[in-house]
Symmetry: C2
Subunit: 204 residues, 2 copies
């Protein structure tokens, strides 16, 4: 017999003020952030979102994969907003990296180390198996990279170097969030922020 798996801090039910479709997508996005794709059930979604099961299928007739793809796109935008805002708090791009890691660490800590990157778990579970979701995840990473590259263009670093740096900034943030989550510690993110700033400064 399995031990009961404790449910950590409740995902807050989405306010009924939002449209039904919006509530479904947001709830799915949150659940997939914490549990991944496979562990997130349509029934669980409909309950958390305060929506009838049939409504989920009304808005997403072809089912779970279609809904999950949309949820990844939603998470893409949401995480981009967080990054954009954090990047804007510091004029200097190297300093801005530290600001980003601080914001991500806050989200993690405030959620008891549950709310990391909203799409990583889903992306890995579905890589090579559910192509629509994989494509949406790839587009999200591209999107976030573009935000970093844009910030780096406020320096005189060569364009080729900027594009490479944008890759490593996002990838290092991803890895550091993973490590922070698993170890329940902000330290990997703090170190990542300092190292990314140092790496960027080494190009100018």
């Amino acid at each position: 017999m399995n031990a009961a798996t404790p449910r950590a801090p409740a995902v807050r039910p989405e306010a009924a003020s939002l449209g039904t479709r919006e509530r479904i997508v947001r709830t799915t996005s949150r659940l997939m952030q914490r549990q991944g794709y496979e562990a997130t059930g349509i029934k669980q979604i409909s309950q958390q979102a305060n929506v009838a099961l049939s409504s989920v299928y009304h808005f997403f007739p072809s089912g779970k994969q279609e809904l999950a793809t949309e949820a990844v796109r939603h998470a893409d935008q949401e995480f981009a907003d967080i990054m954009r805002e954090a990047l804007a708090t510091e004029a200097d791009p190297a300093e801005a990296m530290i600001a980003v890691t601080q914001v991500l660490a806050e989200y993690l800590h405030n959620s008891d180390w549950l709310d990391g990157c909203p799409i990583t778990a889903t992306a890995l579970e579905t890589a090579g198996r559910i192509l629509d979701i994989q494509r949406a995840a790839a587009e999200a990473f591209e999107h976030w990279r573009a935000l970093v590259a844009e910030k780096l263009r406020h320096t005189d670093i060569a364009e080729d170097d900027i594009l490479d740096l944008a890759h490593t900034v996002i990838n290092t943030l991803e890895g550091a969030e993973l490590a922070a989550q698993v170890s329940k510690s902000a330290e990997p993110l703090e170190i990542a922020g300092r190292h990314l700033a140092r790496l960027i400064n080494s190009y100018r």
Copy 2:
């Protein structure tokens, strides 16, 4: 109706020469690497491993979580062997980073971009929900960091800096593998190798 999800390159059935228990653990590890924890079923494991379902429960009486925890520990050792070997191919620690990324890129490419880090998907799916697995994953990351730190001690970088660098090396590799898998391209890993070498060299 769901579209049929294509099954990519078959996981090769484990040779019957291994002991039953070993075959079960290895097969579980491989499947979790590609699909994560939730999508990997005990029946699927028993079939791929050429083992009776009851044998799985004979060796792992408390079920899937116990088996998955053991599989993560196995993957820990296996990935450590790969890293150790790759690190040993170059005397210079900075150059060794590039060697590691090349090896990881080969594994990914040869598996049609399926075989990335063997524990990341599982770690994220179970973070905060299945504590035994989370702990095993945390130990694996520590283990791999220790290998990198050991390599970096062949320089005269200060010990504190070495420990920080080991964090970022592993985390950047993790993020780059994720990106490589999702985008089906070795580029994120190649860039990561160059940047990690540069970062290390900036400390000496």
